[in-house]
Amino acid sequence: MVLTSCSYIPLEIPLALGIPAKRAFFEAPLASCEACLPRDFCPYAKAFIRQHSPEDVLAIAGSCDAMRRVYDVLRHFGYAREVYFVDVPRTSSSDAVTFYAGILREFARYLIRVRDDMHTCSSVCSPGYATDIRDPLFRDHLLATARSLNSLRMELARMFKLLGDGCVSGREAVDVALRVNEILAGETAGEEHKGQLVPGEEAFRACQAIIESVVFRAGGSGRTSEGCENGKALEESQDECDEAHVGDKQFRSAGSATGRKCPGTGVLRRRARVGVSATCLLEPMLVESLEEAGLSVVFIDSCLPFRMFNFSVPGLGTCDSSSNRSDEDARGNADVFSSLALGYLRKPPCPRVFAGYARIEHLKRLVASSGAQGLVYFAPKFCDLAYYDFAELKQALGETGNLPMILIEGEYGSGRAGQTLTRAIAFKEMLEGRSSFGEIG
C-alpha cells in the first residue's frame, strides 16, 4: 500500500502499477511521538510517526519543513520499511513541470522495484502489471488510470458544486472524499478490487456510485445509468451510503448520522454561508461542528477534500474519452508523466506552492462563486504554512475585501471540542447580525 503525505503526489502512478494507494489520513487519538519530533510540530506530520506495516510504502512530499523532518525520522528510526521523498516543486513554470515529470518517472521506477521485491515475498498484486515504465502496457495502464481519476474528479466537482448551492452538507462532501480515497486503495471496496488488470476499474465504479447517490439525493441531476456501468452499483451504494467504513473505524455519514432527512435544497441555503480554508483539515469534525452550529459550509479549500480532487490532468481525457480526443491521439503523443506533472502543479494552489497572488485570487473566486458570507480558516496547530496563509488572506480578503474571517487552530479531535462549537456559534451570530444590517451579501 502506498500512503502519500500530500495532494501533490499523483495516485495515478501506483494505481497504474497495480499497487493500492491512498492519501494518508488519520484519526484521533494519536500516540505521542515526542521522542522523535518536537512538541511544536503539526498534528498531521506527527501522525505519520508510527510503526507502519512492512507492506506500506510512505511517499513523503517536501511540502513543508515539518514533512521534511518526518521523512528523516521515519527513515532514521525505522518506522517504515520503504520511505520515498517526492521532490514536489514550489513553482509551476514549464521548467518546473519538466523537472517534476522527471521526479515522477523516478517515483514510478522506484515503485516497480519495491513492488517486485515485495511481490517475491508476498502477493502484493497480480502479475499482470508492467515491469518497466517504457513498457506500452504501463503506458496504457497509466493513461487508463489517469482518465478514470479525471472522470472521478469531474463527478466530485459536480458534488462539490452542490455544496456551494447548499444542497450537500460539508460533512457529506468530506465523507465522500474520504471514502473515495479508501476505495481507490481497495480497502473498503472488497478484496476483488485489489490489483485489477485495468487498474481499479471496479473501484472507480464504486466511487462513482457513491458520488452519484449523494448527488442524486441532493436533487442534483443524477447521471443516467450509462454513467455508472450498471444501475445495480447505484442501488448497492444506496445501502452503503448509510454506513461508511473508513479505515478500521465505522462511522455513519452525516445524512443519517444526525437523523435529519437528507437536506433539501432550501434547508442549508437559508443559513449563513461560510467557506472553510485550511492547509490540511485533518478530519471531518470541524465541518460537522460548523454545520451543527447552524452555518452552511459552501466550500472546503483544503487538501481534504477539495484540493485532492478539484482539478483535472490536461491532455489525457476521461473514461468516456470519445467526448474529447480519440484514443489513438491521446495514446499517441501525450507523455503521461508530463501531463500529470502539469495537472498537479497547476491545480488550485495550496499554501505550500509559491504562486504569488494566485492563491488570493483563487479564494476570491471561491467566495464569489459560492456566495460565502464569511471564511473559517483552520490551522493545524504549529502549521507555519497555515499561519502565513491566514495572515495573507486576512489582509487581502478580510481587511481589503471586508470578508469576515475567523482563525481556528486545532489538533486531531479538537473539531468536536466545545470551544470550537462556541466560536462557530459566535461567528454565525455575527454573520447573521451583519447580514441583517445589510453589511455583507
Partner: protein, 408 residues
Amino acid sequence: MLLRQKWAYAAASAALPFLSRLGWKEYQVAAVRCFMQDFAEAYLGRKPCIFTSAFVPTELVYGLGAVPFLPEAAGGLAASFGLAEASLSACESLWYSPDLCSFHRSGLGAFALGLAPKPSAVIVSSHLCDGGKRTLFDISRRANCPFYILDVPYVYSDGAARWLAGQIESVARALVREVPGTSLRNMTRAIENSNDALAEYQSVCRLRRNVPAPWRGSEALNYVVLFLWSWGSPWLPAFYRCLRNHLQAVVGAKKFPVPEERCRLLWLNLRPYYETRVFRYLEDECQASVAFEEYSFPYWPRFDAQDPFMSLARKMMSNFGWGPATQRLAAIDRMVDEYRASGVIQFAQRGCRQSNGAAAILSDVLRRKGIPFLNLDGDGVDARNASEAQTLTRLGAFLELLERKKGG
C-alpha cells in the same frame, strides 16, 4: 530615521578611527566600515537594494551591482539594538502568529515600521525553510516591487542543478530589465570577490581548529550575519584577511579568550541576539569555549567565474541544511572532528521546524559517537520566549556531564 541621514554616515566614518583607540580590534572596525558602506548605499538609495531570504547567494545581488538586505538577519540585528519587541508586535498586528519563527516576524515587522531600506526587488529561495518566502512576499506586496522565487531541488543531480542555474539566470536577466541601475557587468567581479574571500575564510577556519580556541564563539555567532549577507561584496576578502591576521596573532601570542578550556562546544543554529548572560556564563564562568558554529561552515565549492549561474546553483544545492538530514549529520560529524568538540549544543530556535525537527536524530547519532548533545530551547529574537535561569541551569548540568565524561 538616522540610517536615512547622509550626515550620519559621514559622522560615523569620521568616528571609526576612534574605535581602535577604544580597544576595538582591526577586524571589528573593518566589519563596521563594510556594513556602513552597504547600509549607506541601501538606505540612501545610491544603489538598488535587493531583499533576499537568508540562503540566496548574495554574490547574485552584488553581481547585479546592487546591495543585499536580509530581513531575517536584520531581525537579529533588531534584537541586538533592543528593537525586537516593537518589530514583533508590528508583525503580530498584521495577523502573523506568534508561533512563527521570530527572525522572520521581526524582519517583516521592522519593515512595516519603516526601519528597513526601500527594496527595488525581492528574491527568495525555497530553501532553507518555509518562513522567509512568505514574509518576503508580504514585503514585496507592501513595497510594490518585483518578487522572484528560486525553486531549489532537494536532492542534487546535474539536471536539477541545470534547472536551478536556468532559474538564477532568468531572474538575473529579468532584474536587469526591471530594476534601473542593475547590470550583469559586475557578476565576474562578485564571483572573484567571493572566491578571494573564501580562500581567506578557509584560513580563518583552519586557525579556529587551534586548541584553545583563538576566537570567542559568542562573537563568531554575531558574525554569522556577515557570513549570510556579504559574499560577493568587494570588502569581504579584506575583512577575512584582517580576521585571519588577528587569529594568527592570538595563536602566536597565546592570548586565548578562554585560556583554560575545560571543554569545547560545537554550537548549532543561531543564538540569542539580545542582551544575555548565557555566553559570559559559558566562556568566562565555566571556561567552556564555543569552538565553532554550524552556520559559519563554508560548505560550497569555489566558483567558476566563466559559469557564474551554475556556480551559484551548486552553492545553493550544496547547503547541507537542504536535503535529507543525513547530509546535515555528515557536516556536523566533520565539524565535531575538525574542531575537536567534546559536546554539541543545538540552540532550538522556537518555531524553527526545519532545524529542531532533527534533534532526536542528532541526539541518537552523536550518542553513538560518544558526543553528548543538548537541545537548548530558546528564542534568538523574542526575549519573552526565553527563560535565562532555566537556560543557565540546563547549560550547567550539561557542562557537568561533559566534565564527568572527561573524567572517565
